[in-house]
């Protein structure tokens, strides 16, 4: 290394510094919720108030279910700052073992988002295994109901905690946090990271 190389390297420093200084403000123009040099900030999270999505008394039988829409507020970079979106979901009556397989502490219900983890379609509750065989291209080994997405035929096994047993979905459906108050099934929040 000679003197010329050292001088050249020193001359390059301000250029690199200037570039670094430009990137952060540019990023903040595109993403106003980020702070200075805050490149690896976690994604903005949606907020929501607790909502009653079903009655426990309507879901007395095993495998009975009801559909609902959960309203949440997503961060949006507009003057309003938020956008309201409706997340479709299912409440399904299950056994405590199945609820534990889904990661709940136990109880009688699972409450999940109907948004398919593949490309964001809205999937169905399919109680009849014959329908899964003919309609979703998969032959279940049990008689239990499954979730099936009509877009690209992903099948989720409810008994195994939403495991993808067929089709291109990359992971199990996202869950809602909920509490049962008397007869009310009250959803408090949605697992983060999903598509709104």
């Amino acid at each position: 290394m000679n003197r010329r190389t050292v001088l050249r390297a020193l001359a390059a420093l301000p250029i690199v510094g200037a570039l670094t200084a430009i990137v952060s403000p540019l990023y903040r123009v595109l993403r106003p919720t980020a702070g200075p040099f805050d490149f690896f900030r976690p994604p903005d999270v949606a907020s929501a108030e607790a909502q009653v999505v079903g009655k426990a008394s309507d879901l007395a039988e095993l495998w009975s279910f009801t559909a609902f829409e959960f309203v949440q507020k997503n961060v949006e970079y507009t003057p309003q700052g938020v956008q309201e979106s409706r997340i479709p979901g299912f409440v399904v009556r299950v056994t405590p073992e199945i609820a534990r397989a889904w990661g709940y502490a136990g109880g009688q219900f699972i409450v999940i988002s109907r948004i398919c983890t593949h490309l964001g379609c809205v999937f169905n509750y399919v109680p009849d295994t014959a329908d899964i065989s003919t309609g979703y291209n998969f032959r279940p080994s049990t008689d239990a109901p499954h979730f099936g997405c009509p877009c690209h035929l992903s099948v989720y096994d409810i008994v195994q905690g939403g495991k993808v047993v067929s089709g291109p979905a990359p992971r199990a459906p996202r869950k809602f946090e909920f509490i049962v108050e008397g007869d009310d099934i009250r959803v408090t929040s949605l697992e983060a990271g999903g598509v709104a």
Binding site: E76, T78, Q83, G120, C121, R139, H152, P170, V195
Partner: protein, 466 residues
């Protein structure tokens, strides 16, 4: 000297601190730079394929001007966007015509860009000193597609809304499924920056409006600077050809009216199937067939692989028949894209049945390429680069094929309700695959040694050497 060491040698001046040599090489490429075939005046005289470059420029101008006119009446809000398009289409004087011109000129722009790239591919115009022109050509296509998908959303109809959700809301989040990379939340962040929030909404529309017009305008400004600096003639095109092209565009605009509107976007109702603009359909079909992480990585790798093509194909030959392997790869890519697009329009996608078939067809095509290469040059694998390209493709195909077979689900025999265990299907496939490739190689070998002569009519017989 092997190809690798040659490559290393060409990088040497840069590494050895002799940037002057590297700059000289770069200047050589810049001297042969070509944006709209404006330097190819010789070829343009005899070959109609060389009007593709000027066509790109003409359509670009038409799209920009008609777009500026549309901006007068367009309202970029989620509530009014669809209504304003209806207004343009039905009430505004000549609105239907301007919108038609904008849409069909944009389609024509994409077609001309793609055909020009295929021409450059099959004529090997990407070889020295045309590398830079080739790379910029691909970048322009990617940007045009970006302008396409951002412009598509501005209508705010069902198809555009859901296409945006898939391409910008869901697809980037697949990056988070890649091990280690997932910790950075990169995919979700990219998605939120692109959408201007967590979901497709008003911020998305505004952002896309900006990008849609920005790409065209900034691009045109750069083009003008280029022509100002080089003093080249912008349109390497005769007036008669220009008149024919514009006439055809007007004819298409008049015949195919009204331009498709679709239905108003509804975030609560997924359309079946989710589709996008026509040039994205092939990619959509691939997204259906492959598991998320490899799908998104391979689609991201496509333009990159295309751009490093001058590195992969380093021989001097330019005629398609003299570089059979790359000719076959190009034909296969084109055919795959067309077939995938047709399949998704027909809504045919059986994720258990199709990937193995596709794998076998693609492998057979590659095998033909290698056999042809041997026929032409008397060698099996002409260079390490061919070998690399071949093995990369095969690895890619195996992922394509295997990930579905590896699932625990039995593969259903269509219409019977019976399933075959996945491992058995996978084993059979492996055997079939090996069998297919070996049979082809064996047949070629037998032909080359003259063993097949007794079964073949005279003019097909292999002549004895010497």
């Amino acid at each position: 000297m092997s190809r690798v060491s040659k490559l290393a040698a060409s990088l040497k001046p840069l590494l050895a601190g002799q940037p002057e040599k590297a700059i000289k090489e770069l200047r050589d490429r810049l001297d042969h730079f070509d944006l709209f075939d404006e330097t190819k005046t010789e070829q343009a005289r005899g070959n109609p394929l060389y009007i593709l470059g000027p066509m790109v420029y003409v359509f670009w101008l038409v799209v920009t001007v008609s777009g500026a006119l549309l901006m007068i009446y367009y309202v970029p809000t989620t509530t009014d966007a669809f209504n304003s398009i209806l207004h343009i289409q039905d009430t505004v004087f000549l609105g239907w015509f301007i919108r038609g011109l904008h849409k069909y000129a944009a389609d024509a722009l994409i077609i001309a860009l793609a055909l020009r790239l295929y021409r450059m591919y099959f004529n090997a115009e990407y070889k020295k000193p045309g590398e830079l022109a080739w790379i910029v050509g691909i970048l322009v296509l990617v940007m045009a597609m970006g302008s396409g998908i951002t412009g598509y959303l501005l209508i705010w109809n069902q198809r555009a809304f859901w296409a945006t959700k898939v391409v910008f809301g869901v697809a980037p989040t697949y990056i988070d499924f890649v091990p280690l990379l997932g910790e950075l939340n990169l995919g979700k962040t990219i998605s939120q920056v692109l959408l201007g929030g967590a979901a497709v909404g008003q911020a998305t529309l505004t952002r896309f409006y900006s990008v849609h017009y920005g790409i065209s305008l900034i691009g045109l400004a750069l083009v003008e600077i280029y022509f100002y600096k080089t003093r080249l003639k912008r349109l390497n095109l005769r007036w008669r050809s220009l008149a024919v092209i514009m006439g055809l565009l007007l004819l298409v605009t008049f015949i195919f009216q009204p331009v498709e509107m679709g239905r108003r976007a509804n975030p609560l109702q997924t359309p079946l199937p989710i589709l996008s603009d026509w040039y994205f359909l092939g990619l959509y079909q691939q997204l259906k067939y492959m598991p998320p992480a490899p799908a998104i990585l391979s689609q991201g790798a496509m333009p990159v692989l295309a751009m490093i093509l001058p590195l992969l194909d380093r021989r001097r030959e330019r005629r398609p028949g003299d570089r059979p392997f790359f000719t076959i790869v190009g034909v296969t890519a084109l055919v795959t894209w067309i077939v995938f697009s047709i399949l998704i329009i027909a809504n045919v996608a059986d994720i258990n049945r199709d990937p193995p078939i596709i794998t076998h067809v693609l492998l057979a095509a590659l095998a033909i390429g290698i056999l042809w290469e041997r026929k032409r040059w008397g060698r099996f694998v002409p260079s390490i680069w061919h070998f690399m390209a071949y093995s990369m493709t095969i690895t890619f195909l195996f992922v394509f094929n295997m990930t579905y077979a590896m699932r625990e689900a039995p593969v259903m025999i269509a219409g019977t309700g019976f399933g075959v265990p996945a491992w058995l299907v996978w084993l059979l496939e492996l055997l079939a695959l090996a069998g297919l490739v070996n049979t082809l190689f064996f047949a070629e070998e037998a032909y080359a040694r003259g063993i097949l002569n007794r079964f073949l009519p005279g003019r097909f017989q292999m002549k004895k050497a010497g």
